[in-house]
Amino acid sequence: MPFSELMMTGIQLMLIGMGIVFTFLIILVVTMKGMSRLAISLEGELPAVDTAVKAPGRSDEVLVSVISAAIRRYRDTR
């Protein structure tokens, strides 16, 4: 392919590509909003146990704090 044609194809691809990316993600925004509404209506009202954005490794932290507390007590008793 001659250079000019290659560049034209590239520009075409850029336009189509960004178009599809934006279209896709905009439709996804709409879909996700609908999905959330559906989920909330299905669940009645949000149950209290719902987790918000959760920090991972919570249980590890508990474990670590428990163990470090236990170590401290253990050492104190010696």
Binding site: F3, V21, L28, M32, M35, D50
Partner: protein, 432 residues
């Protein structure tokens, strides 16, 4: 038989070293140094670097196929047999093998095997993990199982930031094509597309696309992608400071609403649905990502979710890294094209960051100042590095402004965005 020091000496590395191999070993050492001393994406760059060293050991042929070893052996009798099998004169045997297909290819392999040549170990790893496409997809499954999309679900509009940041990809595609004006460069559309995906700032996506569109450039592309992902804390802040005002950077965003378990379960289906309807070529990437996420969020398959997040992703990463490293041969890597790829990669990251920021500024205006435009920079993906950088730059302007969670939305949106972009490139360029 005559066993003598001569023949053994001739088999040593010292006697066979080429300058290129030496340089590639130093490149491997550099990657390992960056991985260990600078913590540059060590999970990938350390195995890649080690793979590069192993692949360039003269005479070991660890990254060669059986026929590759036959060609390297220089054994005139064996070369003649291969030439005969391919039906070409001996001096054209290497070129003929490269273009051999179908039965001729199978016959070459049979011959090499009969003559006692065996594929090197790294070649086997590459064939199983990357040539099949399995390794990047399994890593994507693990990424899905490791990723909490709550921030995105709570504020879907941040998907736009993840979309905008993919502009880096397509601008880089143009850049790569434009580079053909410089003598020495000859990037096809497929090459340019594979290079451009570096701008997606997503390792497995880059490796998957490169393995499909431009296997010869895979090594350089993977190295560039992971290196720039590690350099995000250096590349992004100046651009962020340049394109946003102090006042914009200080904007404190509203806390995210809680997200219910059901929403998290429905989310992977939402994304998959659109992929099915509009972009089936992205189905392997998005399908595996969302499968991993469903394993995580369903709450009923802890065993499988754990396997995806740990055993599978760890094991596959070792093989993927060594396999990518096996592609770092002097012949392929020490070319002007690699230099171009490195320049284009930096450009891609910068352009993506800028595009994300501009979209962030637009959302800032449109929302009446509620959105901090900095979070647009996280749209390039590079999870979670880019979100942390946003947080850090935000804190500089306002010591009580924690943007991390707000930046996680565009950050994970960027993963989806670059998978979509990869799907477009595969559909248009791969299907030719």
């Amino acid at each position: 038989m005559d066993i003598g020091f001569t023949s053994l000496w001739q088999s040593t590395g010292i006697a066979n070293f080429t300058g290129g191999q030496l340089i590639m070993m130093l490149v491997g050492c550099l990657l390992i140094y960056l991985a260990i001393a600078k913590k540059f994406e060590p999970l990938l760059l350390l195995p890649i670097g080690f793979g590069a060293i192993l692949a360039n050991i003269p005479g070991a042929g660890m990254a060669e196929s059986a026929v590759g070893q036959l060609l390297n052996s220089g054994n005139p009798e064996h070369l003649a047999l291969l030439a005969q099998s391919l039906g070409v004169p001996v001096d054209q045997v290497a070129a003929a093998w490269k273009s051999a297909a179908g039965q001729a290819h199978a016959a070459g392999n049979w011959l090499a095997s009969d003559l006692g040549y065996e594929p090197g170990m790294l070649y086997r790893f590459y064939s199983a993990s990357i040539a099949t496409g399995a390794a990047p997809l399994l890593i994507f499954m693990g990424v899905g199982a490791l990723t909490d999309f709550s921030a995105l679900i709570a504020r879907p509009s941040t998907l736009l930031l993840g979309a905008a940041a993919q502009f880096g990809i397509f601008l880089t595609l143009l850049g790569a094509l434009a580079l053909n004006l410089v003598p020495g460069f000859d990037f096809s559309l497929a090459d340019a597309s594979a290079i451009a995906i570096i701008g997606g700032a997503d390792g497995p996506t880059a490796i998957f696309l490169a393995s499909r569109l431009a296997p010869d450039l895979l090594g350089a592309i993977a190295v560039a992608a992971y290196s720039y992902m590690a350099l995000v804390p250096i590349i992004q802040p100046p651009i962020m400071r340049l394109l946003t005002s102090e006042k914009e950077r200080a904007v404190v965003m509203q806390q995210l609403r809680p997200v219910s378990k059901l929403e998290k379960i429905l989310f992977p289906f939402s994304v998959l649905l659109l992929c099915i309807l509009f972009l089936p070529s992205a189905a392997p990437l998005i399908g595996m990502l969302m499968f991993g996420n469903l394993l995580r969020e369903s709450g009923v398959v802890e065993r499988l979710s754990g396997a995806a997040q740990n055993e599978i992703i760890n094991i596959v990463t070792i093989f993927l890294g060594l396999s990518v490293g096996s592609q770092l041969s002097a012949e392929r890597f020490l070319s002007i094209e690699t230099l171009g790829i490195l320049v284009l990669g930096a450009f891609a990251f910068s352009a993506g960051t800028a595009a994300g920021l501009f979209m962030g500024k637009a959302m800032h205006k449109y929302s009446g100042g509620k959105v901090n435009p900095l979070i647009g920079a996280a749209g390039v993906s590079a999870v979670p590095m880019a979100a942390r950088v946003v947080n850090k730059v935000g804190l500089e302007s306002n010591h009580h402004n924690f943007l991390l969670m707000h930046a996680m939305g565009p950050n994970v949106a960027g993963v989806i965005g670059s998978a979509v972009a990869a799907g477009v490139l595969l559909a248009v360029v791969g299907g030719q």
